[in-house]
Assembly symmetry: C2
Homo-oligomer: 488 residues x 2
Amino acid sequence: MSAHMTPEEFRLAAHRAIDALCDYWRTIESRPVLCEKKPGDIAAMLPAHAPEDPEPWDAILGDVDRIVLPGLTHWQSPSFFAFFPANASFPAVLGDLISTGLGVNGMLWATSPAATEIETRVLDWLAELLGLPESFRSVGGIGGGVIHGTASEAVLTALVAARHRAVSRAPSGPAPHCTIYASTQAHSSIVKAAMIAGLAANPDDRSHLRLIETDADHAMNPAALAQAMRDDVAAGRVPTFVVATVGTTSSTAVDPLARIGPICREHNAWLHVDAAFSGSALICPEHRWMIDGVQHADSFNMNPHKWLLTSFDCSCFWTSDRRSLTAALSVTPEYLRNAASSSGTVIDYRDWQIPLGRRFRALKLWFVIRHYGAAGLRAYIREHVRLAEMFESWIKGDDRFEIAAPRTTALVCFRIRPGKGESIEQADARSRSLLATLNGSGKIYLTHTTLPDPAGQPRHTLRVAIGSTLTEERHVRAAWDLISSTVA
Amino acid sequence: MSAHMTPEEFRLAAHRAIDALCDYWRTIESRPVLCEKKPGDIAAMLPAHAPEDPEPWDAILGDVDRIVLPGLTHWQSPSFFAFFPANASFPAVLGDLISTGLGVNGMLWATSPAATEIETRVLDWLAELLGLPESFRSVGGIGGGVIHGTASEAVLTALVAARHRAVSRAPSGPAPHCTIYASTQAHSSIVKAAMIAGLAANPDDRSHLRLIETDADHAMNPAALAQAMRDDVAAGRVPTFVVATVGTTSSTAVDPLARIGPICREHNAWLHVDAAFSGSALICPEHRWMIDGVQHADSFNMNPHKWLLTSFDCSCFWTSDRRSLTAALSVTPEYLRNAASSSGTVIDYRDWQIPLGRRFRALKLWFVIRHYGAAGLRAYIREHVRLAEMFESWIKGDDRFEIAAPRTTALVCFRIRPGKGESIEQADARSRSLLATLNGSGKIYLTHTTLPDPAGQPRHTLRVAIGSTLTEERHVRAAWDLISSTVA
């Protein structure tokens, strides 16, 4: 037999790994946030061939320090302000550790009832915490929640369910020409989902996909959506799927669900709400204006792995129409049949997602909610929003900059205000140069986007997304001091 | 601020969790393999609402013992012979622990170069260990490997790439009618992928999908494939995607690549090889007959999380045509643009997969290969194959049973031989009853399938899949003793 690590060897190795992780988290502020390696630097440190013989654990763990750590961009750094955060937390790490250690596959209820039933219950908890309608809960309803890996998988799943429902409802004859709608500011995963689903041949194909114009606040214009849907109906097409974004990636703009919802209802189109980042803020009632109208939605998605302390991957998806979901995704060969599934009394989550197999991801979310409590999670979100307000006030008070988009939660978008006699292009060039200098410093990491100014001119826009697990006021102050002193 | 666990609190909690996992692995044989809970039993132990206030770690860890463990089907039990195994191992758990603890998202090269470059290198290592053609390696070629979550995602990704290539090559005009081929014994994920991709409206839709008949060994009949493709061409359709299975789920039948490959080439169809389970055996040269002809493949997939000691999820996918893959999946909004990606000198794995975000999964595979060494992995596979041969010999030596399919690696398929005057239906009823009794005993867990007998009659077939991490000869002997003494 091969040389398995014994439980006792594992115990010692794992204790050392834990200690190394503690050291990493303690010293993470001292590392350059954005990795400084060049393409090929890491590969050059790795042998060209796999080892024929076993290597000692010392060598393996040593290479984490020697090769891995210097090759990372430190998403858990408190000075990581790029993209959106990818929250890790110790309770989530513990949940994930136990999940991996138990090594179960919850593809069917029968293959680990606890994995399914804890997931169902915890998603009901979270739906309530977020203020979602009761129709999204599994208890007593025809809805329910499931954990996907990412928001990309969530939107693809919703699209496939929406198409299946539209095709099922269509009169017999040729398949309906299904159309999809999202704002021009919606996430690239929607275009990607359309490509995967066969509704776009390439990112620019608009045969099925409509990107709806946005208003000055970068949120979807509902009148334009209504017009696009009417035009499609007039042309014999079937409006099928609408993605409303609650917190766009570029600027956290909030599409107006209360106006979009009734338009979707009128056309029997599936309304999916992508709240990947901003959804976490809904645990605080003061942010629930963002989902006014959510009762019209057929599905809703938010990522606790972004801003709710649950280590990647954990993307929560709820639907109020689980039959359309399972009808679109269920394929049951003989080798998966079992008494519990056939009884119809259990959830088999394989039919709620793209893959068949699945990790026990609910464990980490369960741990996080229990460790922090709802009150602790609210306090966490509120502190980041407070820091974002503070940062925004500094931008507003400095006439070298201007705010590029309304701040809705914890993302601040700003741009360089052109100086006297300076063109917009020159100001944007300074912005790009500022960004490169800031990220090259190793002290902070932020990313950019493009947003139109009031005149419709696309502008290079800096994004400071506040929401990393360890980010405190001092980190935001230090970031502002660096930005303020670096800008030319 | 909210109450984060401090590194010191985490250290203590994690050491306890590790100790609990050691206890679990030490005592796993004493637990009923298949969970004995009824639907709703676990849910009834969970509060209806999330806690408002934090709970102590003692309560949380205690509920793992109290609620979780009794609610599991123990995939890591050495007496788990169901489905295919889902190998966990201590080195993989350590890799996953460190991955979660570092909390990076490797969606782009720039967002953690080590996550990308270690993955690329380790997939090159593994391609070599498996005896795959050099065209699948990233070094110096136009191919390369990537880690997906599951084989379902792998086949969907390959299908989308295949369709994109076929559409790109088609003359302008209406989109080609793309057709897909797999054997009647191929995995349900292929039908599901067709549904997701919009090429099947439901599991029975054969407008684009052809399920090719199999021979007596349950492997695809190449002549029938060739005929189906010719028929489609004659009807103006475009043969686009062929899945050949190396180790089917029902019986580990091996589709003959050497005959299928040239047929695919003739039609310029993408050949995807699904070796999810049996692929691990390819690290032993004596099993490479199974991929004779693999040089014709455009993509190849095997799951180290099934039988190569790498905890779920880790599904390795290689392509010899990475440009078709990225062309089908790449969508680049402004907020993801960066200097490294624009330089064209790095791999951004987001364009090789369905989701955008991704875990650092290569770490656990790297640890496994280094801990065991290639020699250790070969020894591991060979021991399971030896045990399967042994089990097969016992079936062959007992005239109450008969072998239902050729054993190719470590799965033994067998059925009850009808007794004197007993009908096939009666024998199958005894088989179903035997299975229920065995699984109800808690001592072993196996699953069933349906396979045709030589007369083409579908028969209830028992599957004993040997390959769990801890399975030793004594467990296989005990399983046989139980089966042999239980059969009516």
